[in-house]
């Protein structure tokens, strides 16, 4: 997998996730406005789900792409997955009661993961003697990391504990 198609695929996936979140958030906030209810709760849910979805995709994408095309491609693809949701998140934060530091910290963790995890992929590429084993092993490691993120999220409701 070359760097550019991987990044384009990641960016499209990021945009698709962001669009789905935007549709959900806009729909539920409109219902809340019409009913005279508080749109803050829904916005907090959107922030939480947006973080969780990207936290599950970023490890898989970053490790796999980096194992196949290097750290730069892996980091680029992971960041292209993370960044497109930011405009939706800024609006959802503006409509929620979530503290700014929590949102910034959560996004910072994702960006940090997008920059660090490709190193794991690159390490796998160097460590594995057989070239054809790199892709499945990197995918498996990415899935394990995503599962770890899921379990960690399940046990520890960081970052959005409103």
């Amino acid at each position: 997998m070359s760097a550019s198609p991987a990044r384009r695929f990641a960016a499209l996936s990021g945009l698709a996730v962001a669009a789905a979140l935007a549709v959900w958030w806009l729909g539920s906030t409109r219902l809340a406005i019409d009913r005279g209810a508080d749109a803050g709760r829904t916005s907090e849910d959107v922030l939480q789900v947006a973080w969780l979805v990207r936290a599950l995709v970023v490890p898989t994408l970053a490790v796999r792409v980096a194992a196949l095309a290097g750290w730069r491609a892996g980091a680029g693809a992971a960041l292209a997955m993370v960044v497109p949701a930011w405009p939706v998140l800024v609006l959802a934060w503006a409509a929620s009661a979530a503290p700014l530091w929590q949102v910034v910290l959560a996004e910072g963790l994702l960006v940090g993961a997008a920059l660090v995890l490709p190193m794991v992929g690159r390490g796998l590429r160097r460590a594995l003697p057989r070239g054809d084993a790199v892709e499945p092993v990197a995918t498996a490691v990415g899935i394990v990391l995503a599962a770890a993120a899921w379990i960690a999220h399940d046990r520890w409701t960081f970052p959005y504990t409103f």
Partner: protein, 499 residues
């Protein structure tokens, strides 16, 4: 060497001057620090009911002329007011507060330590009966907690009468009330409060006769406490007309979707731009730049929008009576996360309170008028902070309705003022009611009926008994000073069924 004695003399002088300066400084400091005295006492002898409004009577004085600020904090609601204190004069303020177990009162003056007082309130689960009579006779009303009150225990804010469910006042107590207490009592009567006036003379009776809301059904006159108690017992058989809830009033007019539309459009533009960027410039900087520009653009758009508040008024009265009761809701839509300070309409500010008890709200109270002039609260995107108002206003609508044999109804304007166009509600059906001048009449055809189309008509029908007739008009709120442009209101006047 000859210069040494000269130096020592100047040192001594300098030391004395320094001491004198310090003494003068301390003296001026002592003079600048005024001594502020503060006392705070609750209305109704400290009794109120959960979720109701009461009042704190605050007395402030100082030994020198000073501008003091007074903060009153009750649960999530706080008020502040500025008082010009003069030596030898006691400034007295009555602040309406929501019910809370304790209320904190703090007075602050420049260069003086803050003075704090705590006021405890007793929250009664039982209905409260206020007995403001000169005699020491005890009163018992089934299910009620009776409070023996002096004239000074009665509040000066009409909204504070929400704390009691019934009140007995005799003539000596009535005579001892100041003009603000009398105005608050009249507001209570106009708001259909259960009130028994004991041994009042004809002149006062005539004055108060027109003040009672709900056709004066809940304002009674008695000659003794026993009679007052039995009248109240009989009156309890008739329930007070339930006020329309804030959420029901809110349903009468939908909130403006302008902010939501702007956000939806800006997100749509962002996604379109992001897809185009991805097709033509598939680089990470382009993706980041598109996101950053979308964030800046959307926030700039929201900052540039002017959030307009919305006032919705629902009022009800009875044909031929002088007063209509109203409940109003004012919505303040939020666009960004910020603390906002909004002016309150002067005619409504006296009874302003947050519609949500959990909402943290700060009011600025004008000392001279005793009403809230500004409200301050935290808001955010899509948040609708709502303030509730209630009270009464003079009304002149007298409707004469005669049912005819063919099912039609003859409607006559029996009052002295013309009506605008409205709707007549009878038998669960709404019909158009044309504008009528004084004395003019019209016949409403039985077949011209239609179902209630809009939310106001639906609400009017739910508030009208199926065997009764009522008329609904739109209110012209142009005369309400400070009312927002987006203001709507209705007046529902019910016609008593023929006896």
């Amino acid at each position: 060497m000859s210069s040494l004695p000269a130096l020592s003399i100047s040192d001594a002088v300098a030391r004395r001057l320094l001491l004198l300066g310090v003494a003068l400084c301390c003296l001026s400091q002592a003079n600048a620090a005024p001594r502020v005295e503060l006392t705070a006492a609750p209305a109704w002898k400290g009794w109120t009911r959960p979720g109701r409004t009461t009042e704190i009577d605050v007395r402030l004085s100082a030994d020198s002329a000073v501008r003091a600020s007074l903060d009153v904090v009750a649960a999530r609601q706080s008020t502040d007011s500025t008082v010009e204190l003069q030596p030898g004069r006691v400034a007295r303020l009555q602040i309406a507060v929501g019910s809370a177990a304790s209320v904190d009162v703090e007075a602050r003056a420049p260069s003086a330590p803050p003075v704090r007082r705590g006021v405890s309130l007793a929250l009664s689960e039982s209905p409260l009966l206020g007995v403001a009579v000169a005699s020491d006779e005890r009163v018992a009303l089934d299910g009620f907690h009776a409070l023996a009150l002096a004239a000074d225990d009665l509040p000066r804010n009409g909204s504070a009468y929400a704390s009691v469910d019934a009140l007995i006042v005799d003539a000596p107590t009535l005579a001892a009330l100041d003009h603000r207490q009398l105005a608050a009592l009249v507001t209570y009567a106009a708001d259909c409060g259960r009130l028994v006036l004991m041994n009042i003379d004809q002149r006062v009776r005539r004055l108060l006769d027109d003040a009672g809301g709900c056709g004066g059904r809940f304002m009674m006159q008695a000659k003794s406490l026993a009679e007052a108690t039995s009248m109240l017992t009989a009156s309890l058989a008739t329930s007070l007309p339930a006020a329309l809830s804030p959420s029901s009033i809110g349903e009468l007019a939908r909130p403006s979707p302008a902010a939501w539309n702007a956000v939806a459009v800006s997100l749509a533009v962002y996604f379109a731009a992001a897809v185009l960027a991805l097709v033509f410039i598939p680089s990470l900087p382009a993706i980041v730049l598109t996101s950053a520009l979308a964030i800046v653009g959307t926030l700039a758009l929201l900052q540039g929008m002017y959030p307009r508040s919305q006032l919705i008024v629902w009022s009800e009265g009875e044909s031929g009576t002088q007063l209509a009761r109203y409940q109003a809701v004012q919505r303040f839509p939020g666009l960004v996360r910020e603390r906002v300070r909004v002016p309150l309409p002067p005619q409504l500010g006296a009874a302003a309170q947050s519609c949500e008890p959990g909402q943290t709200m700060h009011y600025e109270v004008d000392v001279t008028s005793g009403r809230a002039t500004f409200a301050e609260f935290e808001t955010r995107l899509f948040r609708q902070v709502t303030l509730c108002y209630s009270g009464s206003f003079p009304m002149q609508r007298t409707i004469a309705v005669d049912a005819r044999a063919d099912g039609s109804r003859s409607v006559r304007n029996a009052g002295t003022r013309a009506w605008p166009r409205g709707a007549l509600l009878a038998g669960g059906v709404a019909r158009d009611l044309p504008a009528l001048g004084p004395g003019a009449a019209t016949v409403i055809d039985a077949r011209s009926g239609g179902s209630a189309g809009d939310s106001a008509l639906r609400t009017a029908q739910t508030r009208t008994r199926s065997d009764s007739t009522a008329a609904l008009w739109s209110l012209d709120l142009a005369g309400v000073a400070g009312a927002p442009i987006d203001s709507t209101g209705w007046l529902l006047v019910s016609v008593a069924p023929p006896r």
